[in-house]
């Protein structure tokens, strides 16, 4: 059973930001909304909603090609968001390029297609881990199948953690060309030691991709310090809009890559039978981009910066400790992943004996508590854990300790239904 960390959240501890999130004031079926599914998607503060609406209401124009003043406003809004987002993740230096995608899934597909097709062939291996989200599994399966390369998995140990020795053994085989792994697991909560891992990968001459979907919203992330060649994340989990994701990549690596999609805005010139590509980052942004969404994500990182990512991490760590302690009160409940709240992010995936996770989540939902149930898009991990599904509660910047109490009450009541 997990142990609480020291620094346990006092029952009232909060970042005092709930009034910024209008949805949290909703009541559903007469009950207040208790949103514990932030790992699936985060709620949005007014600052983000208003930035998106304000862009559409006052500044909308297509980007990059207009000479009239409204187009200049739109350009400045879109490119200004890119600049602030790059600064937020410590990748503002010219050695880094920040490309907008739809979500982290597209960021991974982009690298698998544009870098992978050109650099992976028979005899090569791609290494991923047993704790990856499908987004960081299937694109590499497709690539390896297409290119006749080998896909290998780095195992997790019984605490749901990776072993640096096992990584080194894999790298020492000499055939690994790319390692892709998650910064934070969306099921185990495990926070991986990214800098230690990327350093070994770099030494071995391989390329690293880090899936930051569950990290950027919850802790300070400095891409340059983490030392990955590619770092992707997704806006909707980071209090930003849907439809926008981010790929940070090493500029020199991206310079050498072919485009992923082609069309307007990403070309330098088009002849009848050939075309040349625009400079970075535009080479990877074909067609009219998600402009309002980029602007919204710019507002999201401003919002997160104002709260302070260190404070977010401290708050969520305390909440997680509290959640693990309280979950341990429920008979038959088992949490997967590391036992120590300091080693994990703000989520807990769990099972309860005699209840299917779907039924746990259904009964919690009827009590107004939103939690997720299923394989969490991590079927290889679920099989490794010997589980078909788990329920998962996850916190965000706006979560407070009383919501954890409400979850526990809902779980206790749910168990009672099944015990009758």
């Amino acid at each position: 059973m997990p142990q609480a960390v020291s620094g346990l959240a006092p029952a009232g501890a909060s970042l005092a930001v709930r009034q910024d999130f209008p949805i949290l004031g909703r009541r559903l079926g007469g009950k207040p909304l208790i949103y514990l599914d932030s790992a699936a998607t985060s709620q949005k503060p007014n600052a983000v909603i208003d930035a998106v609406a304000d862009y559409m209401r006052h500044h909308n124009a297509n980007v990059h090609r207009g000479v009239y003043p409204l187009a200049a406003e739109s350009d400045a809004a879109y490119e200004g968001a890119r600049t602030r987002i790059a600064a937020f993740t410590g990748s503002q230096a010219p050695q880094w390029t920040t490309v907008f995608t739809r979500n982290v899934t597209e960021a991974i597909n982009l690298v698998a297609a544009s870098w992978g097709r050109a650099n992976i062939g028979p005899g090569d291996a791609v290494l991923i881990t047993e704790m990856e989200h499908h987004a960081n599994v299937v694109p590499w399966q497709m690539l390896c199948t297409e290119r006749g390369a080998e896909l290998r998995y780095l195992a997790i140990d019984e605490h749901g953690q990776l072993s640096l020795e096992a990584l080194q053994d894999e790298l020492d085989r000499g055939d690994v060309k790319l390692v892709s792994f998650t910064h934070v697991s969306n099921v185990l909560g495990t926070i991986n030691p990214v800098a230690d891992i990327t350093q070994r990968i770099r030494t071995a001459g391989a390329i690293s991709f880090v899936d930051g979907a569950q990290a950027v919203p919850h802790m300070p992330v400095d891409v340059a310090t983490l030392g990955a060649d590619f770092y992707g994340w997704t806006g909707h989990k980071a209090v930003g809009p849907t439809g926008i994701g981010v790929l940070h990549g090493r500029t020199d690596v991206m310079e050498a890559m072919q485009p992923f999609m082609t069309g307007g805005d990403m070309i330098a010139s088009v002849d009848l039978f050939s075309a040349t590509w625009n400079e970075l980052p535009y080479k990877f942004e074909a067609g009219t981009p998600a402009i309002a969404e980029a602007v919204g994500l710019g507002a999201a990182v401003d919002y997160l910066s104002a709260v302070g990512m260190e404070r977010v991490r401290d708050h969520e760590r305390a909440l997680t400790g509290y959640m693990l302690t309280r979950l341990a009160e429920i008979p038959g409940l088992t949490v997967v992943g590391p036992q120590d709240a300091g080693a994990r992010s703000g989520l807990a995936a769990f099972t309860i004996d005699g209840m299917h996770p779907h039924d746990i989540a259904e009964l919690a939902g009827r009590a107004g508590v939103c939690i997720r149930a299923g394989h969490h898009c991590a079927q290889p991990l679920m099989r490794r854990l010997g589980l078909a599904a788990t329920a998962r509660a996850s916190v965000g910047i706006y979560t407070e300790a009383w919501e954890i109490d409400a979850l526990i009450d809902a779980l206790v009541a749910g168990r009672a239904v099944f015990e009758d």
Binding site: H356, H358, E362, H375, A388, V417
Partner: protein, 129 residues
Amino acid sequence: MDDLYRDHILDHYKRPRNFGELEPHDLERAEHNPLCGDELGVHIRVADGRIEDLRFYGHGCAISQAAASIASEELKGMELTEAATLDADWMLDLLGIPISATRRKCALLGLKVVRGAVSGDSSWPEQSR
């Protein structure tokens, strides 16, 4: 009492009828619920164009397991031609509980594998009203 987890649902969930494998069998089908990864399969033995016997196997939530269990009792003895045309209404009426959009696939997975086994149809059963 909860309107979804009524006694008969929980009873079928905890003591599912016609569960396990059926050997030998004439027809079979297994499917995933793509939303949660649950897996449900069916073995059917046929005699005279009818479902002589059947067994469901796999794992799932109370709704999907109870639905399969309840359906199994009705399906025994049914003509294959009739089983092939059963629609979502049939299943939802049998279940007798309000099924929200998010749980539809749980409720219909058992019927889906039966229709698949009997007619090869791999679509989700449609609701006619």
